[in-house]
Amino acid sequence: MNKYTEDDLREELKTKEYEYGFYTDIESDTFPIGLNEDIVKAISLKKEEPEWMTEWRLESFRAWKEMIEPEWANVNYVKPDFQAISYYSAPNSKPKYDSLDEVDPELLATFEKLGISLDEQKKLAGVAMDVVVDSVSVATTFKKTLNEKGIIFCSISEAIREHPELVKKYIGTVVPQKDNFYAALNSAVFSDGSFCYIPKGVRCPMELSTYFRINQAGTGQFERTLLIADEDSYVSYLEGCTAPSRDENQLHAAVVELIALEGAEIKYSTVQNWYPGNSEGKGGVYNFVTKRGICEKNAKISWTQVETGSAITWKYPSCILKGDNSVGEFYSIAVTNNFQQADTGTKMIHLGKNTKSTIISKGISAGKSQNSYRGLVQISSRADNARNFSQCDSLLMGNECGAHTFPYIEAKNKSAIIEHEATTSKIGEDQIFYCNQRGIDTEKAIALIVNGFSKEVLNKLPMEFAIEAQKLLEISLEGSVG
């Protein structure tokens, strides 16, 4: 037993294949590949969108054409050919279902394999799921309960049709169309996503949750999430992803916008486990995500993420602390293995007075992967008494991987207090020895240590999700997480 060493673990990590790599054979309604104004218009038409939306998409598309792909991130990859992607794909079994029984059984089986059987979720977790397979939401549960409270939780296409005033008011206010290359692309072609509105003073009674899956070969998925928490409301939102094993690189360019109005609180948790490519670094998802939230007075936004998948991750969930006394938080675990590359972190923009932000980032790299933390803490000149605490810890397994930190700190106010700390280490021999001494074998010891290393972040996940997160960590670091 005690012969299990870090080398064995590394060996195991190398050979561990993606467990959830299966492919559901559902007939899909897919557009021809390529991107031009006609495709953008066609997507809009398909979604039965009003004219202003079509125009908004076209505007984004025109801006996108002028933009160039960013290259500053610490990642290397073959750039996707944006003309070789199909920009729309929806499961064929239409129209929408009223109950679960009507859902394509094959699809249900898929979810079961993932361990997220809808029925089970319903009964046990009390989680309302807005399940997105490829691009169209196929089942929405607990809608009734939410309706009673006046909470709107639906797909973004439905929201565009039924609540245009809300969408029109807020879409693109946090992540403008021209914000960056991928955000512009997403704004032009987003196929679906979730929309959520919590009315004034309402505390959302359950964790809202949505699942995204990339299912059809060669279809990039471009979700758009818009979450609005009106004054003094509270919502906890969960997002999780798994994708089937495929050799072709898949592109995922999502945009998430959070709006926390005065006194509101949003907790946004993500478990990301897109297909990371095989042990030779072939295939895997390109994950280029723009996530940003804006906090009005006394509001709070908390991002928690567990990143275990994707060949390339490029993701910086950010908070604009616009209102006085607003709070931003970012908790992240990023695990990379084999040839995965992650460049992730956060931006905390302090604009209001007495704003506070906390950043806890844990990076674990194994195999030949590269794991970077890139963050910005910016204190504007009128952000009196702003406070920031950042901590970035990296754990390295093996000497072929890399861990990098690129923190940017810009302070323009004398009353700001900013602390930044970063450490890089491996699992200490003394730590393992200590455990061995007390009769804990090496495998369990490593599990214990990695678990302890990530605890600060895992603790921030909602109960229902913490279990899922642990499950997903297992795939990346099998044998090391108990």
Partner: protein
């Protein structure tokens, strides 16, 4: 004419009075080409994101001073660490000043770059060391292209240099605007030990731009202590590029004291080419008005079992801006590296700003690397404690700020420098720190 064009055309004139057949000249020609293609760095470049050279490049600098200027020792005595015996290499407007200097060839070489470049007996060393570790970026290349004068220090094996060496650059202001490009080469052989003090001083309010490059080679078990005193007036700008190549078991420390200058940019690069090396990079920055100080450091850990310590403190007043961009790279082979980096800042005024970016790039697993960075204020409790005991606010603040920068002063090995720096800090903070060291 833009400064860039002026420099490129000056290069042709420069070629007229240097030996263009020497191998060094090929290095120069190549360097000017690099500068020509890259030009001056702009804010679009990641390394210059927070520092703009625009304000200092607009002057019409003369590249070669027309006449030789002299100054009296008594007028500039205060700029020397004059209470200790030392070797001195003094330049006035970029030209060597023999009557202020005290050089030697007795056992060690403390002399001039120009003679090292021209005399055959130094040829071998120039061939082996000149421009070997200087990077190929545009400003360093610009200096390489015009490299002609500067300090040349060569210490043979097993030699402890008996007294510190002072390198001082004065600019007289006889030119309306002057650009100088000193080039220094320091080679310290096995088991030797040397202490060097470098200072740039402008004597009038005419703008001066100094683009300096220093290459330092520390061979096995060498010990080098380098002190940079930057307390120039607010019309002088300095771009200092220092490259240090360390061999096994050598110890190098660079202390940078930035108290003045309009714009100061310190590019400090350490390359650890051997095992069990120790590198120390420390700095204190206390500035006000519209001054700008940018510390850009790199420590590259190439081999195992090495250490590096970085500790930079900054106090920023008025509309000053500070930049710290520290980078630690640990190669895959460099196991058991111990790298530590700290950057602490105090903003005294609302108009002051600080941008800091401490980076780690780590490719080895068995390492201990950490960096810490803080921006904050003076401890209110400590202030209250002192004021309740009758210490006036100003004094109390001064004491706290002195204490804040004290860590860096602790490792200064020449007491006279420590004293001098303490005095400068006291003047800067406007208090009389009434205790001796």
């Amino acid at each position: 004419m833009e400064l860039k064009e002026k420099l490129i055309s000056s290069f042709l004139a420069f070629e007229n009075h240097v030996d263009i057949d020497s191998p060094i000249h090929d290095v120069r020609s190549e360097a000017i080409k690099i500068f020509e293609t890259q030009g001056f760095p702009t804010k679009k470049e990641e390394a210059w994101k927070y520092t703009s050279l625009n304000s200092i490049l607009k002057h019409d600098y003369s590249v070669f001073p027309k006449n030789e200027n002299t100054i009296e020792y008594n007028d500039v005595k205060k700029y020397f660490i004059h209470d200790i015996d030392s070797y001195k290499i003094v330049f006035i407007d970029g030209k060597y000043s023999s009557h202020l200097s005290q050089t030697t060839h007795d056992g060690i070489d403390v002399c001039l770059m120009s003679s090292a470049l021209n005399k055959p007996k130094y040829q071998l060393i120039i061939q082996n060391y000149f421009n070997k570790i200087a990077s190929k970026d545009s400003l360093t290349s610009l200096n390489t292209a015009f490299s002609q004068e500067g300090a040349y220090i060569q210490i043979p094996k097993n030699k402890v240099v008996d007294k510190p060496i002072q390198i001082i650059h004065f600019s007289t202001g006889n030119e309306s605007a002057l650009m100088q490009q000193p080039r220094n080469l320091i080679v310290v052989n096995e088991n030797s030990h040397v202490q060097i003090i470098e200072r740039h001083q402008s004597l009038t309010e005419n703008p001066v731009l100094t683009n300096s490059v220093t290459e330092i080679f520390a061979n096995k078990r060498a010990i080098i202590d380098y002190y940079k005193v930057q307390n120039d007036n607010e019309h002088a700008s300095l771009i200092d590029n220092t490259f240090i190549n360390q061999k096994q078991e050598s110890h190098c420390s660079v202390h940078t004291f930035s108290f003045g200058g309009k714009l100061t940019r310190n590019n400090l690069n350490f390359y650890q080419n051997g095992e069990r090396i120790d590198s120390t990079l420390k700095g204190v920055t206390i500035i006000g008005n519209k001054q700008h100080v940018d510390h850009n450091t790199l420590v590259h850990h190439i081999e195992p079992n090495c250490e590096s310590h970085q500790d930079y403190k900054g106090i920023f007043n008025d509309s000053s801006t500070g930049v710290f961009n520290g980078k630690v790279v640990v190669n895959k082979e460099a196991q058991k590296t111990n790298a530590f980096q700290a950057n602490n800042n105090i903003l005294v005024s609302d108009k002051a700003s600080i941008n800091t970016k401490p980076q780690l790039e780590i490719f080895a697993d068995d390492v201990k690397c950490s960096h810490g960075c803080t921006i904050g204020q003076l401890d209110e409790n400590a202030m209250f404690y002192m004021r309740s005991r009758g210490i006036p606010e100003k004094e109390a603040k001064g004491l706290l700020m002195y204490a804040f920068s004290n860590n860096v002063l602790n490792s200064v090995k020449i007491p006279e420098i420590k004293q001098r720096i303490t005095k400068i800090i006291a003047t800067k903070l406007g208090v009389n720190i009434g205790f001796d060291l």
